[in-house]
Each structure stands twice: as structure tokens, then as C-alpha cells.
């Protein structure tokens, strides 16, 4: 019966379902239609992705489209007035200018390093919503083109617009939506979080032109108060970023929990460290080889929204083989060894 899904046209299956004399035959046709639809959807998703990293300039403009809105400390998620749009000069509010500038640096990284024209590679406008809520200790991406920034309470956190890697992290959630589309739960959610940390860190390293050895590999160092100092997370040494950091450094410490969408911000420490180890082994600028490998993995047609660590590791190995020059290349060896060290492989 399952074979029919691939070879019998959908209109014929519809006709069988409509006119079949027995319930069993109708059910069979309907089952086949359901499978057929799933396969066609999967094909469409796969066709929209590509394993290769586009290395030549796309038809995009290379100019971001930034809009910064002032939420005036309201908790309503209706966009507030635009206080700075693309090309307009700085305003008196530092949060507005920091969001604008850090959006620019993130766009520049994706454009210059990965030839990606904004989050959707089609020049998508980016909206920053500053001064969201009162003393709100967070920043998040809403999945609809808006990044929301709290001011922080001044004790635990400060203004979230001040951190380039945090902004790179949030905007990368948008890139992931348009590439691997990793489901935000469990291991795929931890991968989603991890690639946001990876590219958030690379955005900062690229802006500062830092080598692997010069980078701090910390996330959120600019937004934490004394209680959470020195940072939210350490990609180099997960579990050591602050006194409450519970990130595992390898699969032996994998955390099972029903909070935080299944520990997406905790278990991301494992793939984070795999990236750091890869970049460290290759040396130089992390975005040049390791970053391109991870980006190609996000575009791998064999990756699924519910892919787990092992599938992502295999995608990075395929990408390293393609980008690095074969299975025996330094890149492939570095990637493979990194995933073995964190006990995913």
C-alpha cells in the first residue's frame, strides 16, 4: 500500500477514496494520500535547501533594512513607533543606536562572509523593539521579523541592545527559520540554540577581527550583572560561565528536563563546544572555515526539523568534506574529532 503513495497520482487516489466499495479500500487510499502529501512536502522542503554554501555574491543589495521601534516600556506586543529607520542619523537614545548598529554588524557578517542577504536571503527587513516592558530581563526573537529588547533590571541584567553576540544570536534564530528550521524543543531545540550562539559569537569575532585565540567565546558578557558575571554561557568551557551555569560539556552530562523546551539553553553547551573545538583545531579566523562548515550544515537537505545531535554532526562532516577538500582533509578530521570529544559520535 505504501508504494502506491509514490506511483499513483493523487487525483486517482482521491477518486479511489471517493468511489471505493469497501471501507478498507477507502482507508487504504486515504492513507496513501496522507503519505503522498507528506513526501511531497518533504521534497519541497528539501528542494528549498542546498548543501553548498553560496560563495559568489547573490542578487541582493548588500544593504540592510533596519527599523528600530520604541516600545516605551509597555508590555503590549504591538509595534511601537519607528524612531530610527535605515539611513537615518543617530538619535539621543543609546539603546536605539546600539540596536541599529548591532543589527548592521550582524547583516554585514552574513552578507560579507556567507553572501546571505538578511535573514531570509531575500533582503528581509529587521525590526528591533527596544524598551520592551519594565525591567524586563530578556531579549527574544518572535519568529515574525521582530527582535524584542528588555532594558534589564540593572541588577541581574543590563540593556540587551548593548551586546553584539546577543543580537547576532537572536537574528540567527531568524536565519535558522529559513534554513534548517530546527524545531525548538529537545535536541533539535538545543541545536537551534547552539547555532545561534555559534553565529552570534562569529558576528562579534568578525566585527572585532579576532582570531580563534583572541576571541573570548563567551555569550552575553556585556549584559550580565555581578550575580551572573562573567557571562551567560561559555562555548569554550560550558558550565563555567557563571555560578548558575548548568551546561554540560559532553553527552555524559546531557540534562533531561521539561523546562525551557527540554533544556534547549542547557544542552546547547554540547554542540557549542564541538564548534569551539573545531575552530580551535583549525586556527585563524573561525568564520573562514569552521563557520562556513556549520552554515553549510544548516543548509543540508538531509537535515530535518527534528534532527538530533548525531544528524547535525554528520551534516557538518559532509560539509567539511565538501568545503575542506575531502574525507582526509584537516577540516574533516577536526570536525569529526570535535564531535567525538563531546561524545556525540
Amino acid at each position: 500500500m505504501y508504494g502506491l503513495a509514490c506511483f499513483v497520482p493523487p487525483d486517482l487516489l482521491h477518486e479511489i477514496a471517493r468511489t471505493a466499495r469497501t471501507a478498507a479500500l477507502r482507508r487504504s487510499a486515504l492513507d496513501s494520500l496522507a503519505i503522498d502529501a507528506a513526501i511531497r512536502t518533504q521534497r519541497a522542503e528539501n528542494a528549498a535547501r542546498t548543501l553548498t554554501v553560496p560563495m559568489s555574491a547573490s542578487a541582493g543589495s548588500g544593504v540592510p533594512q533596519r527599523f528600530i521601534h520604541d516600545q516605551r516600556n509597555g508590555a503590549d506586543m504591538t509595534p511601537g513607533p519607528v524612531v530610527r529607520a535605515e539611513g537615518q542619523p543617530p538619535v539621543d537614545d543609546p539603546a536605539v543606536n546600539q540596536a541599529y548598529d548591532n543589527f548592521g554588524d550582524t547583516y554585514k557578517f552574513y552578507w560579507e562572509v556567507l553572501n546571505r542577504d538578511s535573514l531570509d536571503d531575500q533582503g528581509m527587513p529587521i525590526h528591533g523593539m527596544v524598551h520592551f516592558d519594565t525591567d524586563y530581563n530578556n531579549a527574544f526573537w518572535d519568529g515574525e521579523g521582530h527582535m524584542w529588547f528588555g532594558d534589564g533590571d540593572g541588577t541581574m541584567f543590563s540593556d540587551f541592545t548593548n551586546s553584539l553576540d546577543v543580537i547576532g544570536h537572536e537574528l540567527t534564530h531568524g536565519v535558522t527559520q529559513y534554513t534548517a528550521n530546527l524545531a525548538y524543543s529537545g535536541q533539535s531545540g538545543a541545536l537551534n540554540e547552539s547555532v545561534s550562539d555559534v553565529f552570534g559569537s562569529l558576528v562579534e569575532q568578525y566585527a572585532k577581527q579576532q582570531t580563534v585565540d583572541q576571541a573570548d567565546w563567551l555569550i552575553g558578557a556585556e549584559v550580565v550583572g555581578p550575580q551572573l558575571a562573567p557571562a551567560l554561557r561559555s562555548m569554550k568551557a560550558p558550565g563555567t560561565a557563571n555560578q548558575y551555569d548548568k551546561q554540560p560539556k559532553d553527552m555524559d552530562g546531557f540534562v533531561v528536563t521539561n523546562r525551557d523546551n527540554g533544556g534547549v539553553h542547557t544542552n546547547s553547551g554540547i554542540p557549542n563546544r564541538a564548534f569551539y573545538l573545531t575552530a580551535s583545531a583549525l586556527g585563524g579566523f573561525a568564520w573562514e572555515v569552521a563557520g562556513r562548515i556549520w552554515y553549510a550544515a544548516m543548509n543540508d537537505a538531509r537535515l530535518r526539523p527534528n534532527s538530533r545531535f548525531t544528524a547535525f554532526a554528520q551534516a557538518t562532516i559532509r560539509a567539511a568534506t565538501a568545503i575542506g577538500g575531502g574525507a582526509d582533509s584537516d577540516a574533516t578530521k577536526a570536525v569529526t574529532e570535535a564531535w567525538r570529544t563531546v561524545k556525540v559520535l
Partner: protein
Amino acid sequence: MADGEGALNASVVAVGLVQSGGIAGLDMTATLRLADLPAADADRTRGLVEQVLTEPEPPQARTPGYDGLEYELTVSRAGAPDHQIHTRDGALTPAQRALIGELRPHLHPF
């Protein structure tokens, strides 16, 4: 039926909040015991709790969101089971938001 929904009229003793997720992925908790609060604060908190418990079911979150905060509110009442409410950024009702705002300054990591 949510936990303890059958005894909404019992006297509110305490309200607790566990906040998780967010870009920090930090688990934080706070508990307000009404008996420990000044009378005016206790009355305001009790009023917010009653609003949260009696308001209509909130609409679905407008977006799935990434790095949004998740909240577990626990209302403890005399002689009744605890009542738990799970919600998150993008899905908060005005009363839930106000009650979380009361608890937020008391949050501490655990």
C-alpha cells in the same frame, strides 16, 4: 480541569513563580506569602491572583518565539490543592502579566 480548580474560593495563602527559558536559560523562582506582606500589598496581590484564576482562557500565543520566558505560577490556598498555571511570553493575559510583575523583583536563580 487544572489542579485545584474546584476550590477557587479558598483563601489565598501564597503565590509562587518559576521562570525559565529566556536567552539566559536561567531557572529562577520567587514566592510571596501574603501573611508576610503589608496589608495593602497583600490585598493587591490577592486581587491579582483572583483575577488570574477567574479570567477567561487566554488566546493562543501570537507567535512561537525563540528565547521567550516561560512561567509557572502556583497559587496556594488554605485547605485546597495548589493551582498551577503554565504560560509564556506572547501568551500572557493582563492579569498574569501584572501578577508576574509583582513577583519579578523577588526572583532568584536556583
